[in-house]
Amino acid sequence: MANKEKAKAYWKENIRYVLILMFIWFIVSFGAGILFKDALNAFKMGGFKVGFWFAQQGSMYVFVILIFVYVRLMNKLDKKYGYDA
């Protein structure tokens, strides 16, 4: 039974990480790159309009960072619950 409780708690924390990271995933790509592109294009970074930059550059950099953050978080979480064997 204790094992089941532990697994449940682990899963809950995992889902929380996933939801937070997926939210950021959505905001940088569908948000900044598509839905709010026109508003962000009013601003410029060097030669880039900001909305355009998110769509063709920024979102992809964030995707990479998100996965590595998840890797780190989960490695820690696995250790905390003793699932890293």
Binding site: W11, M45, G47, K49, F52, Q57, F63
Partner: protein
């Protein structure tokens, strides 16, 4: 380029040398890494390091389309090209967070294997096999065609000869080495293709903006000291010729949204990508190698939009309103391949390149932008040859990955799991090799006689993967109570609705229709998003009215959520 290498050995010889060297490496690796068991054949023995798997996944994923066509498509579509950039990278976040770790823990050989076991049903398995075969064959035909095209353009052999040479190479290492051979050749192929893509991009970025990093260069100022930003200049050139501003695009927002999501979800549902995560040792390695794969992919994907901007600006400046008699040599060369066509409609001897199709006199194929880019920018011969070697690496690595999915679907899912479960290990390995041979021949046939619908069906492949596998796998992991009735109904409805919409608007079946008739203004390329939602809804509704899955299946689901004890992949 004549000024640079006056007494050089020429593009053609450089191409023979570079292609020869890379092919020798691939064959050498294949001989060194022969597969001795089904486990080595299907999942490379399950002990691939995260770095090697990341590199192999990146090469597996980046096909002839990514290498040759994508930058060109972006350069003609401007902002709208972002659907491919975000769509084909964002899917890796879904893979790393939602699929790869759990599928690795499940520890099987193929995607239909997961579908069949999780949904305790051979019907589900069969639906999975059919989807995997359709998706993979569609894709692989395009790759073989890409191999043929590169051979014919750079080495001036017949396209069909090119396809056959490509078939022999792939046959050699896919049949001999299985997943093990493919993995290590893909590692080598990644190195070749990324080097080949970056070198010309860096050269051109320095030429145009003075910045050696293309990702920064295309947002920088022109190197001519005018203080003008490159993108502003291109926006100006585009509007002068009657096109939309480059950085604005012309698709509707809802369609851009739908296509991006369909490509992301489709990416995460593609069997040849998913299966790569079965080859690593532990669950944490699956997560890590997804991150490494995306990092390596993003190096090319963030460079492609820069190449697109450089190439388009260069092209407009070189040809627009110039006398046809004075065009550079590359223009004539690519004209003979039919990829550039010029018709002097108003008879003034000048090239009018404008948005208005009645007045436009120049048609340029997407693929030119990468293939001819080094020539347009007058780079040395060896760089031009390098692009050929890179394009071949991209096409061959993807073709091999797809062929493996096809052969595993037949030998493992159909023969071992459904037709003859008593088949011996040795027998299954022979079956796997034979089905790989047959798959190569079928792919080669389609490469030589490409069906007219190849372009349309590549989008279909993503839509199908999005509409079928993705919801079934996600629900299988995150929704313990999902049962076989729900999953099967969802997959069938998802696929059928996708097929219906594609054939209606692409081939004119079911009464056909034009852009004005699209549902909610969503193109067939974006419809995978709708079909995926349909799959989710149907699955959940049907599940509510049918029995829960057996207790032991629910326990399996609880078990795959825990990363420890990911044993080796088993039958």
């Amino acid at each position: 380029m004549h000024s640079l290498v006056v007494e050089g050995i020429g593009v053609q010889n450089w191409t023979y040398i570079l292609v020869g060297i890379t092919f020798t490496i691939y064959i050498g690796i294949a001989i060194w890494s022969r597969a001795g068991s089904t486990k080595e054949f299907y999942v490379a023995g399950g002990g691939v390091s995260p770095l090697a798997n990341g590199m192999a996944t990146a090469a597996d994923w980046m096909s002839a389309a990514s290498f040759i066509s994508m930058a060109g498509i972006i350069s003609f579509k401007g902002y709208d090209g972002a659907v491919y950039l975000m769509g084909w990278t964002g899917g890796y976040v879904l893979l790393a967070l939602l699929l790869a770790p759990y599928l690795r823990k499940f520890g099987k050989f193929t995607v239909p294997d997961f579908i069949g076991d999780r949904y305790y049903s051979n019907t589900a398995r069969l639906v999975g096999v059919i989807c995997a075969l359709i998706v993979s064959f569609t894709y692989v035909a395009g790759q073989m065609r890409g191999v043929g095209l590169v051979f014919s353009r750079f080495l001036e052999v017949d396209i069909n000869t090119g396809v056959i040479i490509g078939m022999i190479i792939v046959l050699f290492y896919a049949v001999l080495g299985g997943m093990k051979g493919i993995t290590y050749t893909q590692v080598a192929q990644y190195c070749v293709l990324i080097f080949a893509f970056m070198v010309p991009a860096i050269f051109i970025s320095i030429q145009m903006t003075g910045n050696p990093i293309p990702q920064l260069g295309f947002g920088g100022q022109l190197a001519d000291g005018s203080g003008t930003y490159l993108l502003d200049k291109l926006d100006g050139l585009s509007t002068d010729l009657g096109f939309a501003e480059y950085t604005e695009g012309s698709k509707s927002m809802i369609d851009v949204f739908a296509i991006t999501l369909a490509l992301m979800v489709g990416t995460a549902g593609l069997p040849h990508v998913i299966v790569r995560f079965f080859t690593v040792k532990r669950v944490k390695d699956a997560r890590k190698s997804a991150g490494i794969a995306l990092l390596l992919i993003v190096i090319l994907y963030t460079t492609a939009p820069a190449v697109a901007v450089f190439a388009r600006t260069n092209m407009i400046e070189t040809v627009s309103n110039q006398p046809y008699a004075n065009v550079p040599e590359w223009f004539k060369k690519w004209e003979t391949t039919g990829l550039i066509t010029f018709t002097d409609k108003n008879g003034d001897g000048l090239i009018q390149y404008v948005a208005d199709t009645n007045k436009n006199e120049l048609v340029v194929d997407n693929d030119i932008m990468v293939l001819a880019n080094p020539e347009i920018a007058q780079l040395p011969d060896w760089v031009i040859a390098l692009v050929a070697a890179g394009a071949l690496a991209a096409a061959l690595s993807t073709a091999a990955g797809l062929l493996l999915v096809i052969s595993a679907s037949v030998s493992h899912d159909l023969i071992k799991k459904m037709i003859n479960p008593k088949i011996s290990e040795k027998g299954e390995l022979i079956a796997a090799r034979l089905s790989a041979v047959v798959a190569v021949c079928v792919a080669g046939y389609f490469g030589i006689n490409p069906p007219g619908f190849v372009a349309a069906t590549v989008a279909l492949a993503f839509g199908l993967a999005a509409a079928s596998f993705f919801p079934a796998i996600i629900l299988g992991i995150f929704y313990k109570k999902m049962n076989k009735e729900g999953a099967i109904a969802g997959m069938v409805i998802g696929i059928l609705s996708m097929l219906f919409y594609m054939t209606k608007f692409k081939f004119g079946w079911f009464g056909g229709g034009t852009e004005a008739d699209w549902w909610f203004g969503i193109s067939p390329e974006g419809f995978g998003t709708i079909a995926m939602l349909l799959n989710f809804i149907v699955s959940i509704v049907i599940m509510k009215f049918t029995p829960d899955p057996p207790m032991e299946v629910q326990e399996i689901v609880e078990n795959i959520r825990i990363p420890s004890g990911a044993g080796e992949a088993t039958h």
